[in-house]
């Protein structure tokens, strides 16, 4: 599907990409990770035909630079930093839809699913939207067409938990027929979304690891947390994840999207001293559990029920 052959790129004698060769197949979900300056964005720009470079890049056998329209018509792209476009939201939607030969209604529908009400902001300049709104709109535009490749640079960074959950569901709906390339500084942000990890450093690929394809994008975990005393900060955090208060802020219940569970646990670990009991159980079964006694959080198939210290329980379980 995607092929990089000996790709090299320099800016004023500084080598930013150094002889990169990669092949990414259909329906692979690749995390492109690395620190700042590793070459992730440059690699993505070469893939989108925006940079000139030495070597070859092809998508479906086509050159993205020479056959721009055909190739880019199959790619949905979400940038890390939303562009400072002054055009109104409606015009951006119509412009993208017309170029991508898709129906603007599809973009509207996806934006709606992500929790972005378009009607009141259609006349507003894109640049005036909040970070989360921009990100939702760009995701809706990228997914609102028949893309074969999704290239996303920190796509969920500005999304609230509810929107992240829906975003993962949207990706899950497309995962069989779409190749995904998701760039991030940190692996834990995207680990649950991918089945292959490519790490870059100083313009080279330093790790190319295929992880077992047992991650469910659509899986959910039922979660129940009891705490010792009511705490406003904790209540606010729980509400942000759409959890229900079962009584005086002492007991909370809700669902956590499978790909977001590590992030959720990271958030709850801040309140470890407060927590009495913590249960996280798979709500939607995607893969059979590894065994009756085995508990795995990494593959999204097991359950965790830990009275007392959740972190101790998590460490034991994993």
């Amino acid at each position: 599907m995607i092929r990089f052959s000996n790709v090299a790129k320099s800016f004023r004698k500084i080598r930013v990409l150094d002889d990169i060769s990669l092949e990414i197949g259909l329906s692979e979900r690749v995390a492109l990770i690395g620190s700042n300056g590793a070459g992730k964005t440059t690699l993505i720009r070469c893939l989108l035909g925006e940079y000139t470079f030495d070597g070859e890049v092809s998508i479906g056998g086509r050159d993205p630079r020479k056959e721009r329209t055909e190739v880019l018509g199959t790619i949905g792209f979400v940038p890390q930093l939303p562009p400072p476009l002054k055009m109104p939201v409606a015009q951006l939607i119509n412009f993208s839809a017309a170029l991508c030969a898709t129906d603007p209604a599809r973009i509207h529908e996806l934006a709606q699913r992500l929790g972005l009400e378009l009607a009141p902001i259609l006349a507003r300049p894109f640049v005036k939207l909040s970070g989360g709104m921009k990100q939702k709109l760009l995701i809706a535009i990228a997914l609102g067409r028949d893309a074969k490749v999704l290239v996303m640079d920190e796509p969920a960074a500005n999304l609230d938990p509810e929107a992240r959950k829906i975003f993962f569901e949207l990706l899950a709906e497309r995962q069989e027929d779409v190749t995904m390339l998701i760039s991030s500084h940190r692996l834990n942000e995207v680990s649950a979304l991918v089945n292959r990890v490519i790490e870059m450093d100083m313009g080279k690929v330093v790790l190319d690891d295929r992880v077992a394809d047992d991650v469910s994008l659509s899986g959910r975990f039922a979660c129940r947390i009891a705490i010792k005393r009511s705490e406003p900060a904790f209540a606010k955090a729980m509400q942000a994840w759409s959890f229900r208060d079962l009584g005086n802020g002492l007991e909370w219940e809700g669902e956590v999207p499978g790909p977001d569970r590590l992030r959720f646990m990271g958030m709850t670990s801040r309140y470890v001293a407060l927590i009495n009991s913590y249960s996280l159980e798979e709500a939607v079964k995607v893969m059979p559990p590894a065994g009756p006694e085995t508990v795995s959080l990494a593959d999204g198939t097991g359950s965790l029920c830990v009275p007392g210290n959740p972190l101790r329980g998590q460490a034991t379980a994993t």
Binding site: Y51, F77, M87, L99, C100
Partner: protein
Amino acid sequence: MNQLWLTAKLDIVESLRARWFQVYTLVFGGIVALLFLFGLTESRVLGFIGLSRLLVTYIQLTMAILPIFVLITTVRSVAGDREAGVYEYLLSLPVSLAAWFWGKILGRYIVIFLPVFGAMVLAVVIALIREIEVPWSMFGYYTALLAVMAACFLGIGMLISALARSTDMAQGAAFVVWLTLLLFLDLILLGVMIQGKVSPEVAVSMALANPLQVFRTAALALFDPQLIVLGPSAYVILDNFGVTGYKIFALVYPTVLGVVAATLGYQLFRRGDLP
């Protein structure tokens, strides 16, 4: 074609929202309004009176303002979008680079020409209401001259914009280009001729390579067909072109200059890094 028009429309809408366009429209509309207000149609110069007199003054003023306005606003186009980080996203959409670049030129051309033309139409409408005679042939040629002038400086602006890597650099370069053309109108050429280092024909040729001088002379030729105000230079021009020939040259040469500059700009844009 659809991509070209979509891009042009994008640029038009963006320009209509920009402050520079509001100022630009106000300046040209304001010039016509002021000229009428101060009774310029009543005054007389070289036998010209009425709307002819107003149009002569209008085109002289436009020649001073339009090139720098077009250059400064156009050079922001490619360089500004690149600097702002707009290209990374917009050029990830399936639009051909030709449609993008020429679409931007088309959109920008419409935006810069319409207010200037609109001001001339406004002058004609006011003249018709006041029952002042309208010199239609002059109106037609001046309109063509303004259209060509806009195209010429738009092309030069797009070339500078494609060359420069930042808005500051692009605006600086645009200003230097305009200043050079302005200096070559008279001052430097006079100096060169006084020193006697070049023949008058070469000096006049150099002057006629300057689009600003071409427009200035063409505008003069309309009310002074023998180019008396130009002195001896008139002989070189009229011997080589004739009055009609020069009028045609004044429309063709700047158009070619603008198109060549824009094509060069497109080649640079197409071959380089986009964001």
